[in-house]
Symmetry: C2
Subunit: 208 residues, 2 copies
DNA sequence: AACATTTTTAATCATTTGATTAAATAATTT
DNA sequence: AAATTATTTAATCAAATGATTAAAAATGTT
């Protein structure tokens, strides 16, 4: 098995990247000060520019890596030719809830930065092809042909799964507020959703 | 009928507020320059501080008004004692999709600013009481008692409705990207959802 | 060890940015 | 109209911020 271990890379360059990830994810590009990153990394401010030239260049690297990491799961699951459609839904939801519990700031980070440079990055990632030409979409269309799935635009389906899965994390301050939930209680609710969302989605797909 | 017309208030103070709303909604607090607001309003920069003291004070006003405006609809619909539970779902979804098509940047604005000062504002708005003590929640609990609704935490329900309704707008760059949709085509899809989401939600509520 | 190269530091720059000031203009009151 | 008050402007400030520089320290090479 090609088992690449994460391997604690404590080079200065990597310390800066790690710190940049932390701070950018939490505060976004505009609110982040290069000094925040330097402090977080425990390095001299000038080193940031020595290794990465500018705040913008460093940000672009973090943004790209974050996007790739975030969409890897859909890409893998959607293009698998073994699993059934139902299986895929369960896998995607489960993978994402685990990921989101570990890195809850990522969707907010991605979405708020995507509104600044919307098109380039999405196009660059080839999202359209990855999703719309995936084996999953073929299965979906087949399900419609077979009368097993209500005939709706697959985009509705994608919005529903994403909406139910990632929106709670994006809106977590609101959810925690109205439900009076501690972070732990919130996560417990999210864990519940791992089993619930696939059931709900199946119910939706059958809706006539 | 108490029909308060919007009445174009072209006072300097109001021009600044309007411009601030536009710029803050689009770029968020951190990325907004007070000069951007002054330019957008067509006024001298010093007037912003003359009328509002500081960027922060002006922002707080816009933030509060935006939140109040955004949650007014839920508040009204949820506490109405005439409509059935089904009716309420249709109303909330329909109201919000209309609102979001007109002001698509609002949810992203609110959510990204809420991650900076999460608790105060949510508590200040009394969201917990407004939602959790609403007539709607009573209807929901009753539906569970009567065996008409699957016994789930009402928060799941709220997350599902919000997720399906507002998430597409928050993620619109992604949706437009993968679906290759023009803004018009995107809005058309959203209009479709006005009828679809209530059906889906009903299907979910029945899930055993 | 001597030299060259890479990495790190402290100091400093130039711009940007939120805010203030003092003077000019307009509106209101007496 | 004169005096008073409110609004607006242009100029400027001080602090914050991204970036650079020159020198020091560490590392690698011969």
């Amino acid at each position: 098995m090609a088992n690449k271990k994460p391997m604690a890379d404590d080079s200065t360059e990597n310390k800066i990247k790690k710190a940049a990830r932390t701070v950018f994810h939490k505060k976004g590009f505009a609110a982040t000060r290069t000094r925040d990153i330097a402090d977080e990394a425990g390095i001299n401010l000038a080193l940031l520019n020595y290794y990465f030239r500018s705040k913008e260049k460093l940000f672009d690297i973090i943004m790209l890596e974050t996007m790739q990491g975030f969409f890897k799961s859909v890409k893998d699951v959607f293009n698998n030719e073994e699993n059934s459609l139902e299986n895929k839904i369960e896998l995607v939801v489960s993978n994402y809830i685990d990921l989101l519990i570990e890195y809850p700031e990522i969707p907010m980070f991605l979405l708020s930065e995507l509104r600044v440079h919307p098109d380039e990055l999405i196009a660059k990632m080839g999202m359209k092809e990855i999703i719309m030409k995936s084996y999953f979409i073929k299965q979906f269309q087949q399900g419609i042909s077979d009368g097993k799935i209500a005939p709706i635009n697959p985009l509705h389906f994608i919005m529903n799964v994403m909406g139910m899965t990632v929106f709670p994390f994006v809106a977590s301050p609101i959810i925690k507020g109205i439900g009076h939930l501690s972070p732990k209680a919130f996560n417990a609710l999210m864990m519940e959703r791992k089993a619930l969302i696939p059931k709900w989605i199946k119910a939706i797909l059958k809706t006539k």
